[in-house]
Structure formats: structure tokens, C-alpha cells
Symmetry: C2
Subunit: 321 residues, 2 copies
């Protein structure tokens, strides 16, 4: 928690840390009230630590007008989603905040409140980080630390030919929510539901835990279903087939134009996408889970229609958005 901005920080860096961030460290002994050069972690016995780091940029990953508490939630929850995809339990996090002078103190206040609520909800603590000035847009980075029983982490690399492919929740809502915020027509109920799905990811931590010892591979859907299934396939050296008709769409999404494309390639869903070997596929709790396909030989991800014929899908992820 020390760095020297060349310009004066808008709020006073030290005051912001002392008044708003230090309270978030209380209750975690090794955080040393954020007052030291680094935080100390006592590794839980018999467990491996799981570490992920993500960054969000204003105007790129969230909209400048998004409520600050929802930006805080998105920052924390997208990282919690990475833990969920590994089957890990959250432990602590660190933030790096590059702050433009143009954002009001009230923005950071509300942002810190958002972190505070969510860290209580998900049972983890802020243990360190850095706050600096920038001449550009707000850049937020978060490092999350969790733990998993040694050897039980869910990886992307374990999918085998014949495994069944599952996904939690519904797909495409968040991408449609972003489009609504950008001007796509929707009635009030639709807009409320979809923008909430965009702003407030629900990391599937409980599901991730349940999948230890069950799933052969797992990932969270952030880039888009096909892109993320492609990541599993690339790491596992396999291909996959997804049945278009099986995609789980919410009732609201079903009423919107572009819902299927959003489900296939929209991203930001933060649902868990995972594979389960045939032998275990009927023996686990499938509440809220949809089977959408199979792992195949080869290396391609194919989408098939009701007759089993391949559908030509152009939008395979954010790179072709």
C-alpha cells in the first residue's frame, strides 16, 4: 500500500485508504490493517492457494455511468467467478485503483461501500493493494486469493471424448443487458432484469465446490459460450458439439432480438461451463444446470440444429463482435 503519485491525488490517497479501505481489512489478521508493505497469509492446512487477477477499464468493461457500487460488485464477482470455475473457496483480495482526478469523492465512497457489502456476502477480506493517480480513465485491478483442497482444483484441461457438457443458469442475458444500456429497445421489466444480469454477476461458488471430483473440466463463461468452450477444448485437446436447441435462455431473453447470438457469443454470463464423464453424468445434483452438448474427437466446437446438422455460427466470441 505505498506508491508515490507525481500529482496530488483527488481525495488524498492516504485518507481514502485510511477511511474507506482499511475498515475492509478488519477481521483478517494478516492484512496488518493495510499498513504494511505486504499482507501475510497463513495457508489453510491441506489446501492449495488459488490466485487470479483481472482488470476493468471505464468505458471498456463497464460504462462510465454505471453505479459505482455495481462496478465494485462486478470487479469482485468476476474474480470470484474465476475461483468458482476452479472449485475454490474465497479467502482475500487486493485492489489496485488508478484514479482520474475527474471522479468525485462520492464515487469512491459508493465504490468502497459496494466492496464492503460484497465482501461480507461472499466471506472474504481486502488485504492490500495500491491507489494511484492517472490522467486516463479509471482502471481497476483486483487480485483474488482462494483455496481448494490439494489436488481437487477444477481445470480446463481434463475434458475427455464422450464427456457431457453442462452449463449453469441462463446464457445471453448480460450481453443483452449491455445492449439495452446502449439503446436496444426493451420494456421496463425486461430492462431491469437484463441490466441487472449485466451489472451483477452471480459467481457460482457453491456449484464450483459441488463439482470437485465430478467435473472433468470447468471454466466460467466470460468471453462467450463458444469461445470459452473453445478454451476447454484447446487445453484438453478435444472438440465439442453444442445443440442449439438446448441453450438455456431466460424467458426475458427469449423475447429479445439476437438472444441466441448473445447466448452463443455474448459473454459476461459468469455461469459455469463444465464437462462430466458419462459415468458420473447422472449422479450429481442438476438443479439449475442444463446439458448442452458433448465432447468429441477433433479440435472444433460445432453447433448443431435439431436434425444434427452443423449450423454456421459467425460470432464466436468477442474478437468478432
Amino acid at each position: 500500500m505505498s506508491r508515490k503519485p507525481a500529482g496530488a491525488a483527488p481525495l488524498g490517497e492516504f485518507e481514502f485508504i485510511a477511511e474507506r479501505l482499511e475498515p475492509l481489512a478488519r477481521g483478517f489478521p494478516g492484512a496488518l490493517t493495510l499498513g504494511d508493505d505486504a499482507a501475510l497469509i497463513d495457508p489453510p492446512p491441506g489446501r492449495q492457494l488459488v490466485v487470479a487477477k483481472d482488470a476493468l477499464v471505464a468505458g471498456v468493461h463497464f460504462l462510465e455511468g454505471d453505479p459505482p457500487a455495481s462496478v465494485a460488485r462486478k470487479l469482485l464477482r468476476t474474480n470470484l467467478s474465476d475461483l468458482a470455475a476452479m472449485g475454490a473457496d474465497p479467502l482475500a483480495y487486493l485492489t489496485a485503483i488508478a484514479r482520474p482526478g475527474t471522479l468525485a469523492a462520492a464515487w469512491y465512497e459508493a465504490f468502497a461501500n459496494g466492496l464492503e457489502e460484497d465482501q461480507r456476502r461472499f466471506g472474504l477480506h481486502l488485504i492490500g493493494g495500491d491507489t494511484v493517480s492517472t490522467t486516463g480513465p479509471l482502471v481497476l485491478s483486483l487480485t483474488i486469493i482462494g483455496s481448494v483442497p490439494a489436488g481437487e482444483a477444477l481445470l480446463r484441461s481434463g475434458a475427455g471424448v464422450g464427456d457431457r457438457v453442462f452449463v449453469s443458469g441462463t446464457l445471453g442475458d448480460a450481453a443483452l443487458g449491455l445492449r439495452v444500456l446502449q439503446g436496444l429497445a426493451a420494456d421496463d421489466d425486461q430492462a431491469l432484469y437484463l441490466t441487472d444480469r449485466y451489472r451483477n454477476p452471480r459467481p457460482r461458488l457453491k456449484l464450483g465446490r459441488r463439482l470437485r471430483g465430478v467435473a472433468s473440466a470447468a471454466i466460467d463463461v466470460s468471453d462467450g459460450l463458444l469461445a470459452d468452450l473453445g478454451h476447454i477444448c484447446a487445453r484438453s485437446g478435444v472438440g465439442a458439439e453444442v445443440a442449439l436447441a438446448s441453450l438455456p435462455l431466460s424467458d426475458v431473453a427469449r423475447g429479445m432480438p439476437g438472444a441466441v447470438a448473445a447466448a452463443l457469443a455474448g459473454g459476461d454470463d459468469y455461469e459455469l461451463l463444465f464437462t462430466v464423464p458419462e459415468a458420473a453424468a447422472d449422479g450429481f445434483d442438476r438443479t439449475g444446470i442444463t446439458e448442452i452438448g458433448r465432447i468429441t474427437a477433433g479440435e472444433r466446437v460445432r453447433v448443431t440444429d435439431a436434425t444434427g446438422r452443423e449450423v454456421d455460427v459467425q460470432r464466436r466470441g468477442w474478437r468478432h463482435f
Copy 2:
């Protein structure tokens, strides 16, 4: 290592990760070749993990024209310096890179080379992170993970009245180096030495290790000697006295205007500032170490002249720079 930039990344995010960052993860089993949602760390037995996170912004913490490899070194070494200040040994790191489209591919290439050289030099590996697009200046964040024998970490909070105050190396060189880069007159030899000190911090990892069980408190000098001594005093509930005549200045710094002010308040030194109880103060290896003062009662940091009278020092750290 997954996030969805709304705009196209300049180099191709996936290609940059695959070609330049993944090689930096080789040799660390839990990094999973950066291909998973998070990295796995097997905690070394009997040790606590030490975690710190810093951010650097182009135009604020380094100059736009700084060589990319030296920016990489500064990013990694300022974080290594945080580990040194805790008496910790480096283990791994994660990066978040918010990239403007305006920087050429060659810049990132040279930046990755700088990381590669330094991670070999200091014995740690890249294990994860995130690469995103930004419309603003380059923002770099690094999370460092080290370890320390359980219970032996050096903290800021242990200084006691009567403890002696020491600092490693020389002070003020880096701040003078920055001023030279900004136009302060210097001959070639001076400029070379001072700008090297600014661009290439030398994290005092070996010294930090040696100070376990010796120092009562420690910090690295990043904000400036007086500001950082103030951090120790605030956390320890004590004051301090620094003898102006004892400040370790390099021969080069001694020949420059503003050298004493730079030593007191310039910052970016990344030397270790630490306190040692009277009883232990003569029993440790003081090679390259200078005694500069004493811990006192009260809560102020005072600077005294040769007669013991307090000197009025206006520039107490970056906030009044």
C-alpha cells in the same frame, strides 16, 4: 487470464499472452501455462505467504519515453522491494496490463523481455494476470507473492523507544535521476549513474532476509525517507530523530543541487529503512548500512543538525512535492 475487451486489442490479446507471457510461466507447475482461470500455489511448509500489489501509470510513475525493459524492471522490482521490506523470499507474480492502442507491438515485446530477464535474476515466475485495452495511458499492475518463515516477517509496527534507525545504500539518487530526465543539468557520468538509480531499483532481498530476528521494524523507502520513517512511527506509536549529517549520499548526489532534500523526501530509493533494538545494534553485519538516528517517544519525526537542534524541513514526502 480471461476478460473481454470491447475494442480490438492492438496486438491480439490472445497472441500476446500465448507468445510472450506464457513462456514466463514455464517452470512453475501451478501456473498451468496461464491457460486456466487461476493459478495454483502449493504453500511452502512452515511458511506464511506474503502478498503485495502495486500499480504504475505512464506519465505518472514512469516517463512515456522510458525504455520498456526498464519499465518492466521497475514494476517488478518495486514489488520485490516490498517483499524485501518484509524479509520475504520471492515466489511468483501476476500482472494486469491496460494497453493503449497507440503503443507499438515492439514496446510490449521489449517489456516482456525485461520481465523475463528479471524473473530469472530474482528467481520467480509469472503465474497469471490479465491484459485489457484502455483509451488512456498504459497502466501496469503487479501482484507479487513471496513467503517467509512463519512468524518472522518484518513489520512496520515493532519499533520501540531507544531503537537505532538504519538505512541501506544511499538516498536521493533516484529522485535526482528523475530530475535529470526532466532537464536538470548534469554531466554524462552523473546522468548515467542517477538515471540508472531511478530506472533500476535494487530490491534489498538479501538484506531483508538477514534482518529477520534482528530488526524491530522495517519498510522500503518509496515515498521518501521522512514519509516512510513516519509510517514506521505511526504504526509503532513512537517518534524518531534523524541526524542530517548522517544521511548517506552518493558521491554523485553530493555534487548536485537539492541532494539533501532529495535524500529526505525524494523517494523511489527502494532502500531498506529499519530499526534495531539497542541490544542487537552492534551484533549484525553493517556492510552497506548507515545509522541515521534513533526512535524517540512522541509521534514526530525530527531532523537535527550537528548541534542537535531541530532543522525545519518543509518537504516531507510526495504530498508536498
